[in-house]
């Protein structure tokens, strides 16, 4: 990196966000082991430069949708650590009020529309958001992220196909971490270059590694501007690696410790930290960022731990959005049914 000039203030921000995601994930893993978090927990460790570089490539009015591996994107988009951690803890103070959990984080204020557990179909949602943007003439884009595994499912192809036909302002971003759960891409993909799939849809494409957050940002910016200018969607493949298993229950035996260690040498968070030091930022200042992050994550865990779980009433209220008067009748029986396990009400 010697001789490279970077905007140090930007770099500090990106490093802080990446380190926050890293530490947030590490602490959520610890809380999971301690029984505070249930269900599935898919960590983003190793892929941070994509979420942070992607968020830096768009504006506050653009949208982001991703898969179940969503904590990093939520935080990159601006969700508070408190709201994210409380969601993992299943608390009402969580971003989704404790109803979504790890896989279903939402933050409409920051235009982060999930967090989706069933992959493929969520990219059609991204196309749908882009459809809305074009329909209403808004100069924004929607980023739709997925893993390389999801490029095999029909939902991926239908989302791309329709977005391409209608020239929707969507950018589909494949975070290729080489493993579809425990299956290496050599056994799931007939080609190594996934962007070849873009050709079938006449789509702009790009393919690069995710080690440097600035590179991610700059290359995604090009795709975003392409989509924003009305030229149609883009398909971007970013080569990355997750340092942990697919989820907390995955010991990762399908790859060797040597392979993982080798990849950790290209850890994007370490790369960013080194770039800060190389850019003459005093180590003390970097450590101060680290300490700030440490405190933010500690506070988030404490906040999540001390928050209350959602109420049963809220569970009932969150099935149907309130309806205007005169549109729906006879929901009383449903309320009676929903309030008891004895069907029809106790």
């Amino acid at each position: 990196m010697a001789g490279r000039t970077v905007n140090v203030e930007e770099l500090k921000g990106y490093y802080r966000r990446m380190w926050l995601i890293r530490r947030f994930e590490e602490e959520s893993a610890r809380a999971y082991a301690g029984g505070k978090i249930g269900g599935f927990l898919h960590l983003y460790i190793g892929q941070e430069a994509i979420a942070v570089g992607g968020a830096a490539a768009i504006g506050p009015e653009d949208y982001v949708i991703t898969t179940y591996r969503d904590h990093g994107h939520a935080l990159a988009r601006g969700m508070t650590s408190r709201a994210a951690m409380a969601e993992l803890f299943g608390k009402e103070t969580g971003c989704s009020k404790g109803f979504g959990g790890s896989m279903h984080m939402f933050d409409v204020e920051h235009r982060f529309l999930g967090g989706h557990g069933i992959v493929g179909g969520h990219l059609a949602l991204a196309s749908g958001v882009a459809f809305k943007l074009k329909y209403q003439g808004e100069p924004h884009v929607c980023l739709g992220y997925c893993g390389e595994g999801a490029t095999n499912i029909g939902g991926f192809h239908e989302a791309l196909s329709l977005a391409a036909i209608w020239k929707l302002p969507a950018v589909f971003i494949i975070e290729n971490n080489e493993y579809s759960m425990g299956t290496p891409l050599s056994r799931t993909l007939p080609v190594r270059d996934i962007t070849l799939k873009a050709q079938g849809y006449g789509m702009y494409s790009d393919r690069f590694e995710a080690n440097d957050v600035f590179e991610v940002r700059e290359k995604l910016k090009k795709a975003v501007e392409h989509a924003r200018s009305g030229k149609g969607p883009a398909l971007i493949e970013i080569l990355t690696y997750r340092f942990r298993g697919h989820s907390m229950s995955d010991p990762g035996k399908y790859r060797t410790p040597e392979e993982v260690e080798l990849r950790k040498k290209k850890d994007p968070v370490r790369v960013a930290r080194q770039l800060l030091l190389d850019s003459k930022v005093p180590e003390k200042e970097v450590e101060a960022i680290d300490a700030e992050v440490e405190e933010e994550v500690r506070d988030a865990v404490q906040f999540a731990d001390e928050s209350a779980p959602p109420s049963e009433e809220l569970m009932h209220d969150l099935v149907y959005a309130p309806s205007e008067e005169g549109l729906i009748e006879n929901v009383e029986h449903w309320h009676k049914v929903v309030s008891s396990n004895i069907v029809g009400g106790a």
Binding site: V129, L318, G326, H333
Partner: protein, 328 residues
């Protein structure tokens, strides 16, 4: 009142709501240039342009998902399935995304969308094109499910469905599209709330509950029974979720006997749900077991003679009513 066909009633509802709200649009296969596979959207492309009447390729999962995503972001899509049979490939979007987004997002995202199209059997279109899908969709919390039988109900309910902030599964019928019926005159707006049953016919001897295509068999059965001195209440719930429980139970409390006639397969579904509610809420009033008359428990055969045996006929409904009256 004026008399129009069911397909025209559906179209009028869409046109009126699209005029009322710019956010409402129609999307589906052949809805535009082809003028609708069943001519439901005839003329709408010319009226609204291709921005709001959007032809799609064969990609139900894709365009259903685009509808859900657009609704999440603030539009109010009407997604037409050429037939509800094809919704099977979009089930993920309806079940996992449309129905659950409001809850999973902690109430941040609403999905004001209507999925509509013809449901149930047409004529000799065999096993893959003859599903009565209400049995799948009425099970899902987060969806409302309508199955109007008449033009007036189709129009009034569709307008309410489009205006509601929740996803609505709107089940029409290929064999219903040509049905004529009265609707309010132009300029007289009628919104029929979801979740309200219609008492189509009154009688004291038995209650028949039926909707969609089977409703007409139920009405024919009631006509036939009347000639034999048996008078029936015929209740069309019109909406299967939420279900107008009270109207059905009140009727059974009066007649003490209940027959439910539905096109869907007999295993579970709204027919069984209604039977469950009636036995629980009107147990002391029942003078006979509740009987259901349904489609037979087989994939739909192609051969006409067999298809006719699978579908509910008025004779079956009449026989069931006589059975609950012990007049076999």
């Amino acid at each position: 009142m004026r008399v129009i066909r069911y397909r025209d009633a559906v179209r009028e509802a869409m046109i009126e709501e699209m005029k009322r709200d710019e956010r409402v649009f129609l999307m589906g296969e052949e809805v535009g240039h082809y003028q609708g596979a069943y001519k439901v959207s005839e003329g709408m492309l010319e009226q609204f342009g291709d921005k709001r009447v959007v032809d799609t390729p064969i990609a139900e999962a894709g365009f259903a998902g685009i509808g859900v995503g657009a609704a999440m972001a603030g539009l109010r899509p009407i997604i037409e399935f050429m037939t509800w049979n094809f919704s099977a490939v979009a089930f993920d979007q309806i079940l996992n995304n449309a129905a659950k987004m409001y809850q999973m997002s902690g109430g941040q995202l609403r999905v004001p969308i209507v999925f509509r199209g013809p449901n149930g059997a047409a004529r000799q279109v065999a096993a893959q094109h003859s599903h009565a899908m209400e049995t799948f969709y009425a099970q899902v919390p987060g969806l409302w499910v309508c199955a109007p039988a008449t033009p007036r109900d189709a129009k009034g309910l569709l307008k309410a469905a489009i205006r509601d902030d929740n996803p609505v599964v709107f089940l029409e019928g290929e064999t219903l599209y040509g049905v004529k019926g009265e609707v309010p005159d132009e300029g007289e707006e009628e919104i029929i709330p979801l979740g309200k049953a219609r008492v189509a016919r009154e009688g004291e001897h038995a209650t028949i509950v039926s909707w969609g295509r089977a409703y007409y068999e139920a009405m024919r059965a009631a006509d036939g029974l009347a000639k034999e001195g048996i008078e029936c209440d015929v209740i069309d719930p019109r909406t299967l979720r939420p279900l107008d429980h009270e109207t059905i139970v009140e009727s059974v409390k009066k007649t003490n006997r209940c027959v439910i006639a539905h096109e869907h397969w007999p295993y579970g579904g709204p027919g069984a749900e209604i039977a469950d509610r009636v036995q629980r809420e009107a147990f002391d009033y029942l003078d006979a077991p509740i009987l259901r008359v349904g489609g037979r428990d087989v994939p739909m055969p192609y051969a006409l003679s067999l298809e006719e045996r699978v579908l509910v006929r008025s004779e079956d409904v009449m026989a069931a009513v006589k059975k609950v009256l012990y007049r076999e």
